[in-house]
Point group: C2
Chain length 369, copies 2
DNA sequence: TTGAAAGCGCTAACAC
DNA sequence: GTGTTAGCGCTTTCAA
């Protein structure tokens, strides 16, 4: 039976290098205030022994973990059929890695998981949390707030806690929607409909608001409510909504769908009814979900958001906030407004009204509008 | 400035309950050998104080972490446009959660990340690793092996290490491919082509082998090489391959594509050339990637694999192996064959030849074949 | 059954 | 500059 390969400790390195544990510790943690010749000896010993610091021991004394939890609360399948999630993670991972932090992934579905996650965060196992709260009625944010861990949200939360709106990073959903609808208007379309997303999510609400903004400024009949159909971000919901819309307003000549999946459903129904896209009805989506948006028939004109960048910024914000907080000696204070002063050097393109960082969108023109 | 909310310690609970730390520790860890009345007192104190054990302190003495690393090595964008990855994670997460383990996500791209990951694993921060190694020439598996951490691979590795083929969980790619091609043959098609995946991945190789199996047993001209076109799992690759195929063999009447993305590209070209699917050319994909496979035109007949289940099994295998190993007192031994005796109670549907667990596939019939 | 005490490997005062 | 020392919060012998 193989022996447990007990890893070398600081002690071992110290002995080998002929110095004290403290000196080794100093070298390992940056090496300030150590004579270069000694430092060199220590480094060699570290290399020879293949020493890797024991994170548990370190955390025990420093109270830092160099780990961040990513909480994805998604009872629905949607997140899992959507590369959105993966791209966010990629962005987060890159940023955390660059700062030597680990990513602890917490996926939840249902009540039990919520308390589990809350317990975990309250247990002080991580230095902060990145939370994707997709629904307005989600109890998780409250629980997380109570856990007293610095947190940054992905997507604008639909509520504000005792200390105001929490830190978040979001896409400029409203602005993106405006761009989409203006594009449609610029094409000469006058009866522009909107198929909404699930309105218990701020992204859906914001896109609807953006649509209304433009319709209101349009000369004739701004914001005819019969042109708005509520849906749920799914292809099936998109089909349903499109049918309803066509029955109600057969004269519709353009559709802004709350996301690409919805647009896809709409496209299907349009085809089925013998309507040509974009000749008869122009369609614009949202997300630029690849490869779907590219491969649809016709390829989808849509509003792109930089999802990976969103992830990066969330991590950056948290890390900065956490640092601030830790310097203050109050690890449980949460990343305060101090950390929210915007990305600054980080990303000049991002706007920062209040505690949120809003990322810009781009209209991607393909064949559908 | 808010005070650092120092979390209650064992000591605090002990004081409150009027017992020793040792007793609290016993209760918290199962409570064996503690008088029920005392245990009850302790539990109440725990609840009142909101005590959560400090994992770092615990790990320091137990050398266990109740944490598993998931390593996803994917330099290409493919993983991120594919829900595959998300579904695996979901399965893994569920299983780990059920066993009170945390999921540490390690995403890598490029050499630097490899050494980083290897260091991390070697540092003994986690009890095991789940690794997705998608390419035959990937150096990561070797590094990970050297790190001496129990590991289970996702997808059959294309190599064997010193101790034989490592533990893995895979889809029955070969069997699934056979089913697909037989289905095509059953439709009366006789000139069945195959567009392969990236052949540096075992999944692509296995699917090709499955195709060949059936072609070989077919009466006339089994395995005409002009019917096989190499590609790379992408839609663009699928288009290219389909064009080449059509130029070479205009008489082709069926295509088995290595995955749905590839099938999608093929579908496009077929449409573009005015060929009807499935009347002129029947098409079968692989993966049942949703919503793509459902939403394509026509909806895709394809081979479904249970991706989430794959993730679950990987975690289950690792956890079992790790437990075995830990019982043996040799944490660095790696999950040996002992852990590989198959899912047994776990999943009766899975086959287990050697150290691998192979999950079955299902043919999903839609309109394209 | 319960408690006392010895560390796990590390950092951070503090002294030299 | 460098070493000594006192814990961080927990589990785990070992006695009682």
């Amino acid at each position: 039976m193989p022996e447990a390969v007990s890893r070398p400790t600081l002690e071992a390195v110290a002995t080998r290098a002929g110095v004290s544990r403290a000196t080794v510790s100093r070298v390992v943690n940056g090496g300030y205030g150590v004579r270069e010749s000694l430092a060199e000896r220590v480094r060699r010993a570290v290399a020879e022994l293949g020493y890797v610091p024991n994170q548990a021991a370190r955390s025990l004394v420093t109270k830092r973990h160099d780990a961040v939890a990513v909480v994805i609360a998604e009872p629905e399948a949607r997140v899992f059929t959507d590369p959105f999630f993966a791209l966010q993670l990629r962005g987060i991972s890159k940023e955390l890695t660059a700062h030597d932090n680990q990513l602890v992934l917490l996926l939840t579905e249902g009540r039990d998981d919520h308390t589990r996650v809350a317990r975990y965060l309250a247990g002080g196992h991580v230095d902060g949390a990145l939370v994707f709260s997709l629904h307005l009625d989600d109890p998780l944010p409250g629980l997380i707030h109570d856990a007293g861990v610095p947190t940054v949200f992905g997507g604008r939360p639909g509520w504000r806690d005792r200390t105001g709106t929490p830190l978040y990073v979001d896409t400029d959903n409203r602005g993106g929607a405006r761009t989409a609808v203006r594009h449609l208007a610029g094409l000469g379309r006058t009866r522009i409909a909107h198929i909404t997303g699930a309105l218990d999510q701020t992204s859906a609400v914001d896109r609807l608001d953006g649509y209304r903004d433009v319709m209101a400024e349009t000369a004739d009949g701004g914001g005819d409510p019969s042109l708005v159909v509520e849906s749920d971000f799914t292809p099936a919901g998109g089909e349903r909504a499109m049918r309803e819309l066509l029955d109600r307003r057969p004269d519709v000549d353009a559709v802004f769908a709350a996301n690409d999946l919805t647009a896809l459903g709409a496209l299907r129904v349009l085809r089925e009814r013998g309507l040509r896209v974009p000749e008869d009805v122009a369609v614009v989506g949202f997300d630029d979900m690849l490869p779907l948006a590219e491969q649809s028939d016709p390829p989808l004109t849509t509003v792109r958001q930089d999802i990976e960048q969103m992830g990066r910024l969330m991590a950056r914000l948290l890390l900065r906030g956490a640092t601030t907080v830790l310097r203050d000696g109050s690890a449980a204070a949460g990343a305060g407004p101090k950390g929210a002063s915007g990305p600054g050097d980080a990303d000049p393109a991002a706007r920062t009204p209040g505690p949120g960082v809003i990322l810009p969108t781009t209209l991607i023109r393909r064949a559908s509008a």
